[in-house]
């Protein structure tokens, strides 16, 4: 059992536990914290795959920025424990077997038809000199993917404006003139 496999299993166990805990918890703040655990574990997996820059961005953007936004919204809206309704019982009835069926199907197809012994990989940081480091990623991003990158900035701008417009208070009706 190599170091790669042990690290993969450790990070994978944290990710799976976090994902299951997200489903099990009823309070949204607990779900948010377990999602942060999933994202941190995935950053470890990315590091194991040699994608150092992606791992850093995963921690900064996903676990940092996006989840902070979620936690702020949960606290702003004072979200409590979700109440169980008729619809949620039907959803549990179909959702849990659907999840099990889907993951078993994916695992069966992937493990059966992909030739697991043929595709060995997994690199520790430092072994892949010049492959997943920020310089190579930046060169590709600013040469081959320059147009999508610029379009992305427009998307972000539109998202900022949309968020401000949607979340701002609706304008109060102008005060009637008393005559």
């Amino acid at each position: 059992m190599s170091v790669h496999l042990i690290l993969f299993l450790a990070f994978g166990a944290v990710a799976v536990a976090g994902a299951v805990n997200l489903l099990a918890q009823t309070h949204p703040i607990n779900s948010a914290l377990s999602l942060i655990a999933v994202m941190a574990a995935l950053a470890g997996e990315y590091l194991l795959l040699g994608a150092e820059f992606v791992a850093a961005v995963q921690v900064i953007v996903y676990a940092g920025a996006i989840m902070v936004l979620f936690v702020f919204t949960i606290m702003l809206l004072n979200a409590g424990v979700e109440e169980c309704t008729q619809g949620s019982r039907v959803a549990v009835l179909f959702g849990i077997p659907g999840m099990l069926l889907g993951s078993i199907l994916v695992a069966w197809v992937v493990l059966r038809h992909s030739g697991t012994e043929a595709v060995l990989m997994g690199v520790l940081p430092g072994q892949t000199k010049g492959w997943g480091d920020p310089a190579a990623v930046g060169e590709l991003l600013f040469h081959d993917f320059l147009l999508p990158f610029e379009i992305t900035s427009v998307l972000i701008l539109i998202a900022i404006m949309g968020a401000v417009v949607l979340a701002s208070k609706p304008p109060t009706a102008p005060a009637r003139k008393v005559d």
Binding site: F8, I66, E83, V110, S114, M121, W131, G132, I158, G162
Partner: protein
């Protein structure tokens, strides 16, 4: 050395958990977090394939997925705040009318 298929199985399980959360959960914020979980599962398979084929473009796709997720989170949470302001509930079963 870890086979590629192990990464794909983990990615598939995370995606399935996201789908199940989307179906099971009744709180609109938790449903939104399930969508983020699905995006993370897809990102893992992108990075795994990028490492397998030594194609760096897979990592670039992960960045674009992250950007779209950030924009989606900003707009989606703003919509949730607007919904809460008019309905005063976060339960999706009670948000079933387009107009009050």
């Amino acid at each position: 050395m870890v086979p590629l298929s192990y990464y794909l199985v983990l990615s598939g399980f995370l995606f399935a958990c996201g789908v199940a959360g989307f179906l099971i959960k009744r709180n609109i914020i938790t449903i939104f977090m399930s969508i983020e979980l699905m995006l993370n599962g897809v990102n893992l398979s992108f990075v795994a394939f990028a490492a397998h084929w030594h194609a760096l473009a897979g990592q670039i796709f992960v960045f674009f997925v992250m950007v779209v997720a950030a924009a989606e989170a900003a707009v989606g949470l703003a919509i949730i705040i607007a919904v809460y302001r008019t309905r005063e509930t976060l339960n999706v079963d009670q948000v079933n009318l387009l107009k009050l």
